[in-house]
């Protein structure tokens, strides 16, 4: 067991290992992920209320450090940054062209994450690490990243991890797991999930956990589980989406969708990127830069002569179908971890769980609206 005071020691220990410690902090009316200097940067006593298209902070009044649910940022920002350099090409007079590999990423990371985010990282691992090709940039950031997962005690109304089995407990894939118990004595149950996790943990001021502590921690996540009311019926989503390719629901949602791409960009698993040349004015140097892209952009599907998916309908369908359906074909997992970000951060509050339920309902009562 750790005292709340041990958080400073933890952050110091991580920084002491040469890591850039990134975790939750309050900025611009939200809990975002940023570099932490000490536990004082954590969102102490701040919680969040989320709904489709809405997010507000409130004072919890209990001093919890991790009393929030999914934030507008996700670990993606750090492991797969919005822009990275792929290579630099140089023309040294005449025709000769030289290619240079990009610099290695900056300092390795220590990330404070939530259980669903651990799963999201695992999903991106499948894309960037476990396919035929390994993405060098992602791999080097990921390999060194020290993951501290904090189990969830205060899910938001937008969360549905329980439907996808990604939370609120953390089951593995972390270096260090914490469960914050606020009731009674404010304390943390800590577990190491790796050797380096154990090393770090061993160096922190602590006392052994009693059964009562374990029970209190289990109650935290159990309480969280009970409070999650959003459900997604995951039964054969793949088939459902495949059968729904021509559903009129796509037109209906396209009327509401702004094609602004917020959903895909806040999603912790979406991995689409584009690559472009950034050239020097004199034309002797060029950098190929990779940037986040989204299937909501028309260029995403552009091939000579026109885009494959010009309509909003087709773009929304791509997003939902990929996330919940074809992702399984491509990477053997669902692309969704149930964090609810796409629901909260859609400016018009389009709710993926509702859209999927509508597709299912239309299938079950095919002639409902005739």
């Amino acid at each position: 067991m750790l005292e709340p005071g041990a958080l400073d020691a933890l952050i110091e220990a991580l920084a002491g290992r040469g890591l850039r410690v990134v975790g939750p902090t309050v900025r611009d009316g939200a809990i975002v992920l940023d570099e932490l200097a000490s536990a004082a940067d954590l969102p102490t006593g701040v919680g969040d209320v989320q709904e489709p298209g809405g997010y507000r902070l409130f004072e919890r009044g209990d001093g919890a450090f991790f009393g929030y649910a999914a934030s507008p940022h996700s670990p993606k920002q750090f492991l797969f940054p919005a822009s990275t350099r792929l290579f630099r090409a140089r023309r040294n007079g005449g025709a000769a062209v030289e290619f240079e590999e990009p610099d290695a990423p900056e300092r390795p990371l220590a990330l404070f994450v939530r259980p669903c985010e651990l799963h999201a990282i695992a999903v991106q691992d499948r894309v960037f690490l476990h396919g035929q090709h390994v993405d060098r940039d992602y791999a080097s950031r990921r390999r060194d990243a020290f993951l501290v997962v904090v189990e969830c005690g205060s899910p938001a109304s937008t969360c549905f991890c329980t439907s996808l089995g990604t939370g609120p407990e953390a089951e593995g894939g972390y270096d260090l797991a914490l469960t914050e118990v606020v009731d009674g004595e404010h304390r943390f149950l800590a577990r190491a999930g790796s050797e380096r996790g154990a090393e770090v943990l061993a160096a922190l001021p602590q006392r052994p956990a009693a059964d009562a502590d374990r029970a209190a921690a289990a109650e935290v996540t159990a309480g969280a589980r009970d409070s999650i009311s959003r459900r997604l019926d995951t039964g054969d989503l793949r088939g459902l989406l495949e059968r729904s390719r021509e559903s009129p629901r796509w037109d209906e949602v396209a009327a509401r969708c702004l094609t602004c791409a917020n959903c895909t960009l806040v999603c912790p698993t979406c991995f689409c990127s584009s690559a472009e040349d950034v050239t020097s004015l004199d034309g002797t140097e060029s950098e190929r830069v990779r940037r986040w892209d989204t299937c909501f952009s028309i260029d995403h599907s552009y091939i000579h002569g026109g885009a494959i998916r010009p309509s909003s309908r087709a773009r929304y369908r791509q997003w939902l179908t990929h996330k919940f359906g074809t992702w399984n074909d491509q990477f053997g997992v669902s692309g969704c971890v149930g964090c609810g970000r796409c629901i909260a951060w859609c400016p018009v509050g389009i709710d993926v769980t509702e859209e999927l339920a509508a597709l299912r309902a239309a299938e079950e009562v095919p002639d409902a609206d005739h």
Partner: protein, 280 residues
């Protein structure tokens, strides 16, 4: 969590420099380049695979490998936009970046002992050229060998000299058609799928490879199916926007697949349904 693999250089996102060793004009807007590695080993792509070709400071695009000439890659490129224009304008000696090869290959083993029917429209002959070359080089492994090729006009036909030689050489049933003939044209007039009905092959024991515009591929497959070739014996090569070739950028999704990884070659059985869906 599984061990994290060390990224290896072979999988690098950094291109290797290749020099344009030779450049031939095919049509008004299409050129064939022979690319020679500047140091490092030669690439050994299989027929049907593609590379990502990088034009300095302009961009990078997927281009099929049309064949090999010793250490050189042979690639045929139609200039349709900034990158392909820059590639086509690369004079001998110019340096391009090459990554790859990527993607799967034409299932040529499957065709061994059978009739091989190659159906190409326009620039679509480029991705098929490697397969044709392979089959001609190993002619004995195949029974009948047919190339049905169409272009808009006689001036749009690729590899004209080579095709004329092949016609002389024999061992290949070659039918060429154009949508619009000029005065000198003595061959067929009409769309490629129309050639399918007349061609001599045994549909029960044939493998067909088809590349062209999506609409042409649909009709060709229909015609081949009408002749009796089963959908799982027909193969097409698909195109989508592509940024990485590594399965990482998400652009080349085609329904449940990623073209750079699962394609570009697919059986018609796998594609038939997807090709029916608009804006997929």
């Amino acid at each position: 969590m599984s061990a994290l693999a060390e990224p290896s250089l072979a999988e690098a996102t950094v291109p290797r420099p290749f020099a344009v060793a030779e450049r031939r004009r095919e049509t008004a807007d299409t050129w064939t380049l022979e690319l020679e590695p500047l140091g490092g080993p030669a690439l050994t792509p299989l027929p049907g695979q593609f590379t990502m070709l990088y034009a300095f400071g302009i961009g990078e695009v997927p281009i099929s490998v049309s064949g090999r000439n010793g250490e050189r890659l042979v690639q045929t490129v139609r200039a349709v936009g900034a990158v392909t224009e820059a590639i086509c304008a690369s004079e001998p000696g110019a340096v391009l970046g090459v990554r790859g090869p990527f993607g799967n290959a034409w299932p040529l083993e499957l065709a061994e002992g059978r009739d091989l029917v190659i159906v190409a429209g326009g620039i679509g002959l480029a991705p098929l050229h490697g397969a044709l070359e392979h089959a001609l080089n190993h002619r004995e492994r195949y029974r009948g060998l047919t190339l049905l090729y169409g272009a808009r006009t006689p001036a749009d036909l690729l590899y004209r000299v080579e095709l004329a030689e092949l016609r002389e050489r024999g061992g290949l049933q070659l039918e060429v058609t154009v949508d619009a003939a000029d005065e000198q044209w003595r061959g067929h007039v009409g769309v490629v799928p129309k050639l399918v009905g007349r061609a001599g092959f045994d549909p029960r024991d044939a493998i067909a490879l088809v590349v062209g515009p999506e609409i042409m591929m649909r009709y060709a497959i229909e015609a081949l199916a009408d002749r009796g070739i089963a959908a799982d014996r027909m193969f097409v090569s698909m195109e989508r926007n592509m940024r990485c070739g590594l399965g990482h950028c998400g652009h080349c999704q085609l329904g449940p697949t990623l073209i750079c990884r699962d394609g570009p070659v697919y059986s018609a059985a796998a594609m038939a349904e997807l090709m029916e869906v608009r804006e997929l």
